[in-house]
Symmetry: C2
């Protein structure tokens, strides 16, 4: 039975050095390919590394060297919403290409969860943080400012970010959708979404939407499904509630595509024709829309690209390259065929 070399029972750098008959420092230099050692030494050290199956302890490296770590904290509201799953995929693919790792935080859209996660993740000395949304609790903001690491706020376009930001202008995207529906000849328009207890991207979209509709002589009737997630089923019963409480609704705009699909299902199940009897518009343009028989009227955003750009901003900043701190990646309207087009 081999004697326990240390508490952790893992192979350490000193062990490798001892076996190779060199000092820790020499072994360390070889492993970092720093130069300043003979080829013979290098070969010897690497041989022992292989033999012993040595894996460096990056915790110690970061700790000792006052370098920042290679991991980046990434907060995302939820993954049940495909949109955010794609954003995360874009972020992680780009980060990992450059040797970084994502430490995930699912905030479930609450500032308190975000704050708690920020506190925890900061204690692990991350290289940087990527956060969804522009709103944070006061204590979170204080911690973020003190952390002294790069921060990218994504999703909402944000002209005065904590540090850097990439996203779209949600107000404008809602406005454009509102104007489009007005142009299509609708005036009595419904909105179905989830509760917006805090200011967030969806509520900005709704604000923009209302402004356009009301400015165009229309009326918006809102139906918020309190305390529910923005998925199919709330779209279904939110529509039921909306149509029960209001008559004469000609068209419904939903917080996102998933809710819109749920709503469309309710309408067709009740014998209404889309778009003849009622118009349906979503937001986000889920990939599946492209292969359904009737394309959903929606707003397209390149989620994967958004994630990649956010990660790239982080990487550039970490490499001290110049970075444009604020970026708007835009959106475009998908006319689809679920609203009638005059």
């Amino acid at each position: 039975m081999r004697e326990k070399p240390n508490k952790t029972n893992k192979v350490s750098l000193s062990e490798v050095a001892r076996e190779a008959g060199v000092s820790k420092m020499t072994a360390s230099r070889v492993l970092r390919e720093e130069g300043g050692y003979s080829e013979k030494t290098r070969a010897l050290v690497m041989q022992k590394v292989d033999e012993l199956g040595y894996l460096p302890n990056r915790l110690a490296t970061v700790f000792a060297g006052d370098q920042s770590s290679t991991f980046v904290g990434v907060s995302i509201p939820e993954l049940g919403n495909e949109v955010f799953a794609q954003v995360l995929e874009g972020i992680d693919r780009q980060l990992s290409t450059f040797g970084h790792q994502s430490v995930l935080g699912l905030t479930q859209h609450t500032l308190k969860d975000e704050e708690d996660w920020i506190r925890t993740v900061l204690s692990w000395q991350p290289a940087g943080l990527i956060l969804t949304g522009r709103y944070h609790s006061p204590r979170a903001i204080e911690m973020l400012k003190n952390a002294g690491i790069p921060i990218v706020e994504i999703w909402d376009y944000n002209s005065s970010p904590l540090d850097m930001s990439v996203g779209i202008n949600h107000f404008d995207s809602g406005f454009d959708m509102g104007r489009y529906l007005i142009e299509c000849g609708y005036t009595r328009i419904g909105y179905v979404g989830t509760s917006h207890d805090a200011a967030n991207a969806a509520s900005s979209r709704l604000d923009g939407f209302c402004k356009a509709v009301e400015g165009g002589g229309g009326l918006v009737q809102k139906q918020l499904c309190l305390h529910d997630t923005a998925t199919f089923y709330p779209g279904f019963y939110g529509t039921e509630q909306l149509l029960a409480s209001q008559s004469g609704i000609e068209c419904i705009f939903y917080q996102n595509d998933a809710m819109a699909f749920g709503g469309m299902q309710y309408c067709t199940a009740k014998g209404m024709q889309v778009p003849e009897d009622i118009g349906i518009a979503g937001w986000g343009d889920l990939p599946i829309s492209a292969v359904l028989k009737r394309r959903l009227t929606s707003m397209h955003v390149s989620h994967l690209k958004l994630g990649k750009i956010a990660a790239q901003m982080m990487i550039s900043r970490l490499s001290d390259e110049p970075v444009e701190p604020v970026k708007d990646i835009g959106f475009h309207l998908i006319p689809g065929s679920t609203v009638r087009n005059l």
Copy 2:
């Protein structure tokens, strides 16, 4: 300008202690709520913690205490596939409830990417690892065995896991689908999937499927879209290729629901009626299916639950609670209405 207290420019425990006029140890005890200090001391230390905005450095804690970190490495093939996004959501929700963080690794279904990620993530001294799939490279297996930390392999039911495992028997799920289609009276059946260069869950499903179909007197015609992801569009053109190269196909089974939706779109675009002219079956039962007019014949798996159970196994093991090391969470067939039912 305040003098730089240390290299990192962050507030350290010694600083808090100095300000409070106590020793590091006392401050440490207060912060860990270990007991063994007066209320007066506690209040004083906590006051300074607040004033200085002290955040502990968990790196140092792990390092000093020879505890493992609260990180759990989680490898997932991709997030573009909703199924895996849901699994990850289940994992992270459960882990974070118990104070753990997920360090993400997207392997894009390649063993090499998984191996590289394992090497990196192990260097962060994670508390444990959750890996998708039962197949790993030889070097990966060696590292995993040496790591001496809990490992949960998910997705494939695996009666002899490296450590623990939770998933379903993919062969059986394919078999059940094959038998069902035979029972529905189909004999000339197509399969559309992506390339299965390595053994994986999808190829197990196909094996089971073929066994059932051929055992039932049917024939399976395979169409693999090489080197593509299992999403809508490959489903679309894979179907085109299949139907062009073979006549008389009565029903098509797809690697997953996304491909099935793509295939169904191709069929209806070509004027075929589903299920009158051709049957369509998917796998995975995407949430959206439940709200489409015509429910897709598919196989249901509780992805979120799978993730939660995997995380719970990890947590139990980390708390030294007894754990059943292997778990089969099962599946059930959704008859749907995209295959004709005799």
